[in-house]
């Protein structure tokens, strides 16, 4: 029973990362093809669509990088850059509230803040900076790994629902569904990494206890 659970596709990091690459590619290609279909000007494509696809382009580069040997070697450094980019995203969603104050922009800010916290909590936990900058004193552990992931799923579902209520076009509805799938998959990837780190640490502690006995 346990084996089948852990062999499921949603517990396989390789499958999840491949899935994310495919979803980001579909998202980027689809939004550009829709822009052509709806006769949107070059200025608008550069301004709005590139802005929307910015995070997908970053995700595409990130997940393609971690498949390579260089990406694996500098995994911590790539994560740090990704965290910085999410700092920008939180900043963007904060300033977007001033641009258009609605439930979507507020939930977007909440979602990006949770993703940023979750990334810091997961990816910096095993590094030197965690102790050097005394991040272990911040109560990240108050919220469990599962709850960060569930919060991301919940908020992305609310954004999807509010989008679906306002969208009248079928293609845009699919694009919004892909947006939400990407967020859930990204959350799943962080969740699996944190799970892996926790399992590794408990194994090390058990081994130490055995040698002490």
């Amino acid at each position: 029973m346990k084996n089948t659970k852990y062999n499921s596709w949603y517990c396989n990091a390789t499958f999840i990362t491949n899935f994310i690459i495919v979803i980001t590619l579909i998202n980027i290609i689809m939004s550009h093809s829709l822009a052509v279909k709806y006769n949107i000007g070059v200025g608008n494509i550069i301004r709005s669509i590139l802005n929307h696809n910015f995070i997908y382009l970053v995700a595409l580069v990130y997940f393609s990088m971690i498949k390579t040997n260089i990406g694996k070697k500098y995994f911590n450094f790539i994560n740090l850059i990704y965290i910085f980019i999410y700092v920008f995203m939180v900043f963007t969603s904060f300033l977007s509230i001033f641009q258009s104050f609605d439930i979507n922009s507020i939930i977007n800010l909440l979602l990006n803040s949770i993703i940023l916290l979750y990334m810091i909590y997961t990816f910096l936990n095993d590094t030197r900076y965690w102790k050097e900058f005394k991040l272990n004193k911040i109560p990240f552990d108050e919220i469990k790994n599962e709850w960060y992931f569930y919060a991301m799923c919940f908020l992305s579902t609310i954004i999807l629902l509010s989008n679906l209520l306002t969208i009248t076009d079928f293609n845009l509805a699919i694009l919004s569904i892909f947006d939400s799938i990407y967020i859930i998959l990204f959350g799943r990837y962080i969740y699996l990494y944190k799970n892996y780190e926790d399992n590794k640490n408990t194994k090390i502690i058990k081994r130490r206890n055995k040698t002490n006995e």
């Binding site: 990091a13 450094f77 963007t92 979507n104 892996y196």
Partner: protein, 111 residues
């Protein structure tokens, strides 16, 4: 759990370098006028980026394909481009300041 990817990452990944000593060096470092001006310029460019991102906002995903955009997003790409240009200019001026420090040191040694 099937974690081949994470196993490989764990096997190869490098930790961050120590930065305690670097931070101490920066705290002791005395900036000259050019370097102070470069830091000030970088701060100015950060504010310009924020202002430009707000003045030229991007349309939100759902509104892009409509004829009239109803809700806007902060234009992060424009802001990042402005910050990057500002960073390059500030870095150039900061480097110039550092060259002047080195030339002064050489001048004092020769005397």
């Amino acid at each position: 759990m099937n974690d081949n990817l994470f196993d490989e990452i764990d096997k190869y990944k490098k930790d961050f370098p120590k930065i305690d000593k670097d931070l101490d060096y920066i705290k002791k470092y005395e900036f000259n006028f050019y370097q102070k001006f470069a830091i000030f310029l970088e701060l100015v460019f950060i504010f310009i980026g924020i202002i430009l991102g707000n003045v030229f906002p991007a349309c939100q995903q759902n509104g892009i394909y409509n004829s009239v955009c109803k809700s806007f997003n902060f234009n992060i790409l424009l802001a990042i481009i402005t910050w990057f240009v500002g960073f390059i200019i500030a870095l150039f001026i900061f480097g110039l300041g550092h060259i002047i420090i080195l030339l002064n040191m050489l001048n004092h040694k020769n005397k």
